[in-house]
Symmetry: C2
């Protein structure tokens, strides 16, 4: 498995078949860890940074936290490949844009990704399709244990795991789910979710994390407190209280919309289907928005085609770097918009339920 | 032939097969006439107005200016029928909304319409498909002669025909063409046409005449001067200079667009086609706009279907009064928007060139 194989398929988390998949796209858990006896990255000399990258890479590959893993040297990768990894949520934007030695170890099915030299020495992530927080936590704990057998992590008896940013100190854990909330968005009820999230110390972000807008009605919801609670408490509260409430709210509003404003919702869904099939120029932002409406339509039973799997794939494959990889050429914006429109039409086919 | 038959077909002027039909929808000529020895309508007593209506109706039907004519008593007509006549350009909005005795005599193919008691005692109109100003003028002169054999028109040896509004005094003639100018609109060049029109004493108005906006890139261009020039001069200048210049300008910009921005234009055309086929709720304004893009696409050779005849029919049949007549029920706005979307889909069919 190499980077080149990535464009041939989507990761496990996009297969669109996990629990509660009509609202929950994916569940993600990540841990932040730093080596004891080494400065945080912002204080490392170039030599220390390079040393860290080499040592951690070797240890991860030797520990084999996933059966088959491959490693991408992010510093040496082409820009388009770094973007590809961001679009797949395998590395962060910050990691893509840095300039020091760094990399990421990825499991074959992309459920595990371990960034080396992001904000912390190690950022381990497990991502799974649908609502699978417990399974994701189990897996990340297994990985953490395997690595801890070989590495000495910076740990303080009172504060817990030490991290570069104080908001991660403690367990260093962040749990998050990617939610699809078209009904809450359409009705404006999403504002109440923002308010409640703030009160519950939960962060709501856009599709690509910190500093990005919610595109196509997708929202990343994650915990903010890491200090003063155990890992179990954090995950339990998030999994058993916060997320079920938001899911229930979205589902209730969907039913109310169907009951009271069916023609309005149908109109949006079928227009999205029509535009995706007819546009000759289309941006990735508009594609995301239209696919989101289409996904809502399928989940509401308003439209039968296409399969959710195709919609999920298109979310990823119409992103700029993926599109260029699939078509094996680099393009400027207008050329991409034209190629994207053509690609979407070719994937959705010409026969359409009317 | 009666009012009820009107919704079964479109008038001659919408058949979309006249000269220069890729730019010129229709040519229209109208004359304003008043009876000598009777006050203008604003000064008539109710009795005189009623008398005028009866007398003019009888004379017109007896004179038989068109082989077969039918008469609509506009004052007695239902509101939806009056709107229907406005949508077909057979009476003006003012005529529809007045409250005094009034009517309109219409030829079977709708090329001739003679309004009684609009602003003047008589407003005769000939409307033809495409660029056919000379033919329209010939026909209206024939009608004018036939009526003048029976009626004594108010005429002043120095000022010419006397009319209620001074802008019509003289020949009482107004020539106009309905132009489809999508390329000039898209590029913003239409502003130059407005400026030039102003300099040439030509008025540019929207689809339904005075006080209406240009909807769907349709513009009504008409002469403003009636005093101090002969009928022939007015028509010649308008027909041989003003209109050909605008047509040439539009065609030049269309070719430039095709050469330099083909994907952008194609995108607009195919999106319009897609939306018309997929919307579940659609206003008459949006329908007009989308049909206009579709018409442009057919004329530019970008899209083969549908036939221009169908597009022209839909322009008319999707208007509120027509839609309700066709479907034989009166509806509120949302019900109309839903019914309109359904009707458009049924007319455009489900197989679409891709």
């Amino acid at each position: 498995m190499t980077l080149a194989d990535l464009t041939q398929r989507t990761g496990e988390w996009l297969r669109g078949a996990g629990p509660m998949q009509e609202v929950v796209i994916s569940s993600r858990v990540r841990l932040a860890r730093n080596l004891a006896g080494m400065p945080f990255l912002s204080r490392c000399s170039p030599q220390q940074t390079a040393e860290l990258e080499k040592r951690l890479r070797d240890e991860i590959l030797a520990a084999g936290p996933a059966k088959t893993m491959f490693y991408v040297d992010v510093a040496a990768a082409r820009e388009i490949d770094r973007r590809l990894l961001v679009e797949r949520h395998l590395i962060s934007r910050q990691h893509a844009q840095s300039s020091h030695p760094r990399g990421v170890a990825i499991s074959d099915n992309e459920t595990v990704a371990i960034m080396i030299n992001e904000e912390d020495h190690l950022r381990m992530q497990v991502i799974r399709s649908g609502l699978q927080l417990s399974q994701a936590v189990e897996e990340i704990n297994r990985i953490d244990d395997l690595l801890e057998d070989r590495l000495d992590f910076a740990f303080h008896s009172r504060y817990g795991y030490l991290t570069a940013c104080p908001t991660n100190v403690g367990t260093g854990i962040r749990v998050s789910v990617m939610l699809h909330l078209p009904a809450l968005k359409l009705t404006g009820e999403i504002e109440k979710v923002f308010q409640a999230a703030h009160d519950m110390r939960v962060a709501v972000r856009g599709l690509y994390g910190e500093g990005t807008d919610a595109a196509g009605d997708f929202y990343q919801v994650s915990n903010q407190t890491t200090l003063g609670k155990s890992e179990e408490q954090i995950v339990e509260e998030f999994r058993d209280q916060v997320i079920p409430q938001i899911i229930k709210y979205e589902l209730t509003v969907r039913q109310a919309l169907l009951k009271n404003q069916r023609p309005v919702v149908e109109d949006k869904v079928f227009r999205a289907a029509g535009l995706l099939r007819s546009a000759r120029l289309i941006s990735s932002e508009e594609t995301l928005y239209l696919l989101s409406m289409l996904r809502a339509g399928v989940n509401l039973g308003l439209i039968e085609q296409p399969d959710l799997k195709i919609i999920n794939e298109l979310f990823l494959l119409t992103q700029p770097a993926h599109l260029q990889k699939i078509l094996s050429r680099e393009m400027d914006r207008q050329a991409r918009d034209e190629a994207r429109a053509h690609y979407v039409r070719s994937r959705l086919g010409t026969s359409w339920p009317n």
